[in-house]
Assembly symmetry: C2
Homo-oligomer: 363 residues x 2
């Protein structure tokens, strides 16, 4: 059976999104969050339109082992919540102003302090940061509480305890390690950053969460934890490898993509001087003239559109785009090898299409 068509995959992801959102946005959770500013901050991102790829991955993997997706729905909502708290805290750390086209939580909450307390700008900024720290803390707890609800839907207590345990050890600690490595890389001269360090950071920041989603969905579906069933582990590794490919493609699109579909300014990685596989390759292989073009824009927030465009050209000429794109394809191939260990089924075909979409996407 061939991979499902991109259209079939899109419809399936949308179906999963609706199922997940019915749990995630169930009004009965709202009253838990007080006072009002915490509630607004907790709901800010999850109420904005999003594809919910992680919940969809979890539900597909549950289906791929013949599981009951109704039992897995709280877990699907939980991984989205877990992803969300990391976004809220990362946005403080990265000083980002926009998320899903609207103000980040810490920026929005600073405005609440200006409007409601008449705080001065510095105090308002501090208030915004405080609300965002605490809202992320509340969301992390909510994620776990949501996962526990699987027990109410018939998932055995031992499976739920095992999944909560992995959430609080492997997933939490490795994600935080990845975020910390990302921060530390930004403090180093870009020439001193190695490709293997960047790939490790991507594995921790992106791969580990997708691995958790897939393995959790499969574990709920077949009632065996990661390490207890080769199919659960294969699906976890499959998703991890796809995650790395996704991030590599993301880095390419950030430079060569379309600003409108991207939702953020083209070349922001270049202006930040971010160590990506793409840029590190160019720095290793550029001629003297090409290096000069790279240097003119890398790490300069004020770099002009022309200067960023010159970098984009160098990345093409040197072969850095092709190199990164080939690397991403290799991760997808490795992922598909893992997927072949999973018995054939309609959800497996959808996962195959999902893997191909990592590198086929243009936004």
């Amino acid at each position: 059976m061939p991979a499902s068509s991109p259209d079939t995959l899109r419809r399936e992801i949308e179906r999963c999104r609706q199922l997940t959102d019915a749990v995630l946005l169930d009004p009965r959770y709202r009253d838990r969050f007080r006072p009002e500013h915490i509630r607004r901050a907790v709901y800010a991102y999850i109420e904005r339109p999003a594809k919910r790829l992680r919940p969809a991955l979890l539900l597909l993997c549950c289906g791929a082992v013949g599981g009951d997706e109704q039992q897995a729905l709280p877990a699907a909502a939980a991984v989205e919540l877990f992803h969300t708290w990391t976004l809220v805290h990362d946005d403080i750390i990265d000083n980002d102003a926009l998320r899903r086209g609207q103000p980040t939580v810490h920026v929005a909450a600073a405005d609440w302090a200006l409007a409601e307390f008449g705080a001065d700008p510095a105090a308002a900024q501090a208030y915004g940061r405080d609300v965002a720290i605490l809202a992320g803390d509340a969301q992390q707890a909510w994620a776990t509480a949501m996962l526990l609800e699987c027990a109410d839907r018939g998932v055995p207590a031992s499976v739920v305890l095992g999944l909560v345990g992995r959430l609080q050890t492997v997933l939490n600690h490795r994600l935080i390690e990845g975020e910390m490595l990302d921060v530390q890389l930004s403090y180093r001269r870009i020439e001193s950053c190695r490709e293997d360090e960047v790939l490790q950071m991507i594995r921790l920041k992106t791969g580990v969460l997708l691995e958790y989603c897939a393995a959790a969905g499969a574990a709920i579906g077949c009632r065996r934890l990661p390490g207890e069933d080769p199919v659960v582990d294969a699906l976890g590794e499959f998703a991890h490898l796809c995650g790395v490919a996704f991030q590599l493609q993301d880095d390419i699109l950030g430079v060569t993509g379309n600003e409108a579909t991207l939702g953020k300014p083209l070349g922001s990685d270049i202006r930040e001087g971010k160590a990506t596989v793409l840029i590190l390759h160019a720095l290793r292989h550029a001629s003297v003239a090409q290096t000069a073009a790279l240097r003119a824009a890398l790490g300069r927030a004020a770099a002009s559109t022309v200067e960023v465009e010159a970098v984009r050209q160098v990345l093409q000429e040197v072969g850095s785009v092709t190199y990164t794109s080939t690397l991403a394809e290799r991760f997808v191939e490795q992922a598909l090898a893992r997927l072949r260990m999973v018995p054939a089924s309609a959800p497996r075909d959808l996962l195959e299409a999902w893997a191909h979409s990592m590198t086929a996407r243009t936004a």
Copy 2:
């Protein structure tokens, strides 16, 4: 049987501390935390000398219902970890520089960036904040992972799941509410802050955690969750009420205490203009001249020792110290009424002594 003597209580708390620390500081956890800066930040506070009152409370309540304290030890370590992550994040929010006599996590980590990355002061400060945010996030997860370990010691899965659930909903969300109310009170004119609001904030910030400790210890001891056993609930309420008394006494000691045993500058609440029950009482009852003395120091970081001493005198003259102290005693009495619902035992006598120590303490 009378309450145990303060000396017996002190020895028992120290015994519980040693039992808890053997779990908390077990070297097998250290490798979970990477990179090195995260590990140092995660361990910073828990490696400093502390009484570990919360673990002791949990273990005493387990004993008071006839439970096996060995089964409760991971929970004792878990509540200390839960307390610790809130300290790490609160210290960022409150811009505090010292904790247990040494630099707070965000201040220490800023120094690491100065020393190791040669970061400029502003970048180092941002780095310190980032490390502290992520370290607290990791500690929150560790707390839950630690609580799960009770299942390995024979506590039924249903009790563990129930306690994890309450940790992630009631405890997390109410503590965050309390911290947020504390922040919001600091943005308001002190005259607009009401005593009932301050008491509610104290209940959420201090009472709810102690209630959780006591109820969790009892639940593990008798294998019935809060809401399923009146003794579990009575012990929870007992601890909650003691927590409020503790905080009221803390506010008194912060103004009238001994700087050496207090470990922080006398009168910092006054210089911060913090709305405490003590200060709000004085503002309500002061004469014109007394109000002038209060105003001269309240909320002025630069207030002199003489000005702070004048406030202390006003707090005595107006009867605010007596008022607050009487209120604290009333909370202890209410707590003791709850304790009488618990069958007599040696641990109950220790809990009685602990309740009296809330207001008897001078440091």
